[in-house]
């Protein structure tokens, strides 16, 4: 409730004061928000803000003052590396030092103490967002922000601080610093989006999460269909939590007149793993694409590698191999971004390998379609691809949610033991913490979610479509949505936060 009252207070002040000060209110409230989590953590936010601001302006000044092209380039490069090292180094130290130390210990039979740093809220998100900005300045996409306070808002804007989306300066800056007049429709849309987000989180995610926690937390007790069911539940939980969380975040931003980048686009309708990463955690994918994938793929050494593979494997295949390699590298980073554990690396590698495989087998697939007379534009094939992708994604969840890499493999093996569909009807699913009624609510909620997803996939803006309906219809819809939260929402015993807020 604190959060809602906070947003209310911020919005109130935001629209009362003269519009040219609005961004300052956002900055102040963002810092209050972050400080409320722990005053000491502000140090880290300030560290990233100041170092990024400083190195970006330094690069700009080199652009102006240094005339020799070569010297300019190498100077800028050194400043960029400094900025990247400071910030990714900080992130690495806080997030990955324990992982590094414990692996070093087991490899070399040592016993160095773990450092156990507390992870500042949102550090993975704001670090990546800031480094994207620095790289953009280095590439000359835009000039560095001169006003340190304005820049501070870009780093700390509270709705996106905890779980993204990872924003771009050129899309956000002008929005932050424009004047926003109070627009009731826009505020209403924002509130509606927030309610929809809470629906997904409270009705679907928190409920499905009960099963996930029970089975994955006590994985040696379960096998067969129960494990498979738990993985499916995780599909529901993770989507409801993260996408629902995003709806709340984007809805809040909308109230202030800020449009953040979309992070989800009906990901379970994906037709391939590649497509999945264009629909799931979109801003992480595009960040990786713009700042890792293309730079790697266009780099000199990758160029040389490409020439080499073209020579050995011929033009067709040879062209694909560097891309496949780049994808694997990118997804290893995606994996490690999620956390400091081998299972996350495996998660990344699994995704990268599947994409790389798809890249490499593309011509083989095309040939297979011809031979087997498969019409790859048909609805049936489209459905097959969706289901196949969904299956592959669910397999990837084993690496994401299991407590360790070993546990994920154990659980995969366990899934095949005693697998029977009878588990669905013999009542064993009712011993995991949810009653029959909960499953009915989940089914109903998923049906609603599915319907909304289909509508959105067709490109319809639901809020605007609703706006055009008569008041009675609109009001019924809004009331139903709002009341579904207390009526059908799951009630946690002992508080629950959003999953991605811990990254």
């Amino acid at each position: 409730m604190e959060f809602l009252l906070f947003v209310l207070a911020a919005a109130f002040v935001y629209y009362i004061i003269p519009a040219r000060y609005q961004w300052m209110i956002l900055l102040a409230f963002s810092y209050i928000f972050y400080a409320a989590a722990g005053i000491k953590l502000l140090f880290f936010l300030l560290f990233t803000t100041l170092t990024t601001y400083g190195t970006a302006r330094w690069i700009d000044s080199v652009n102006i003052s240094v005339t020799d092209k070569k010297e300019k380039k190498s100077s800028k490069r050194r400043i960029l590396i400094l900025g990247l090292l400071l910030n990714f180094g900080m992130l690495g130290l806080l997030k990955y030092s324990n992982f590094a130390i414990s692996n070093f210990n087991s490899l070399f039979q040592k016993n160095f103490a773990l450092l156990n740093f507390a992870l500042p809220l949102g550090i993975s998100f704001y670090t990546f967002q800031s480094m994207g900005y620095l790289i953009d300045v280095y590439w000359g996409r835009f000039r560095a922000e001169r006003n340190p306070f304005r820049f501070a808002l870009f780093v700390s804007f509270f709705p996106q601080l905890l779980q993204g989306p990872i924003g771009r300066f050129d899309r956000l800056a002008h929005q932050f610093f424009e004047e926003h007049s109070f627009d009731l429709t826009r505020v209403e849309h924002g509130l509606q989006r927030m309610m929809w987000g809470y629906f997904q989180k409270l009705v679907l995610a928190d409920r499905a999460g009960v099963i996930v926690k029970e089975v994955f937390g006590n994985y040696s007790d379960y096998h067969g269909m129960t494990v498979a069911a738990a993985v499916l539940m995780y599909s529901i939980q993770l989507y409801g939590d993260f996408s629902g969380g995003m709806d709340v975040v984007l809805g809040v931003a909308e109230i202030f007149g800020i449009t953040l980048d979309e992070n989800f686009r009906q990901p379970y309708f994906s037709i391939s793993i590649t497509d999945f990463w264009h629909r799931w955690h979109i801003t992480l994918g595009t960040w990786m694409k713009d700042y890792i994938f293309y730079p790697i793929s266009l780099s000199h050494w990758m160029n040389r590698f490409g020439k080499y593979t073209k020579k050995i494997f011929g033009k067709q295949t040879g062209r694909v191999i560097p891309v496949a390699l780049a994808n694997i590298i990118v997804f290893l980073v995606v994996g490690i971004w999620h956390g400091a554990a081998w299972k996350y690396l495996m998660y990344g590698f699994y995704n990268g390998a599947l994409i790389a495989l798809a890249n490499l087998l593309a011509p083989v697939n095309r040939r297979a379609f011809e031979v087997f007379h498969i019409d790859d534009k048909s609805r049936a094939w489209h459905l097959v691809r969706i289901l196949r992708t969904f299956l592959l994604v669910n397999i990837s969840w084993y690496f994401d949610i299991a407590v360790s890499l070993g546990a994920s493999f154990a659980m995969m093996r366990a899934t095949f033991q005693g697998f029977t569909f009878r588990t669905l009807t013999d009542g064993s699913l009712l011993n995991l913490g949810l009653a029959a009624r909960d499953f009915v609510i989940l089914a109903f909620g998923c049906a609603v979610l599915f319907a909304v997803s289909v509508i959105r996939e067709k490109g319809v803006d639901i809020r605007e479509a609703l706006d055009r309906k008569p008041a009675a219809v609109r009001w019924c819809a809004y009331l139903a949505l709002i009341l579904s939260l207390p009526v059908f929402g799951y009630i946690m015993v002992g508080g629950g936060g959003f999953i991605y807020a811990q990254f």
């Binding site: 700042y291 293309y294 266009l298 062209r319």
Partner: protein, 75 residues
């Protein structure tokens, strides 16, 4: 300009490159296509394309690609 069209058609068939203005915005080209195009353009025109250049405003149409190539040739 014709060279551009040739390269595009070789990398992806069945697209009206003469008239299409939303190659990126309409998800017609994926990142693999883009890299292939970059490779071909670099070879054909002896230019260096960097990540900064990979933006929709350059890649959305054959014309904008040609404009980018000309810019890079002059640089």
């Amino acid at each position: 300009m014709d060279k551009i069209l040739d390269i595009l058609e070789e990398i992806k068939s069945g697209v009206d490159f003469k008239n299409e203005k939303g190659l990126i915005d309409n998800d017609i080209l994926d990142s693999f296509d883009i890299l292939s195009i970059v490779g071909e353009l670099e070879d054909a025109f002896d230019i260096e394309i960097t990540p900064v250049d990979i933006v929709p405003s350059n890649f959305n149409s054959a014309e904008s690609l040609w404009a980018m190539v000309q810019r890079l040739m002059e640089a």
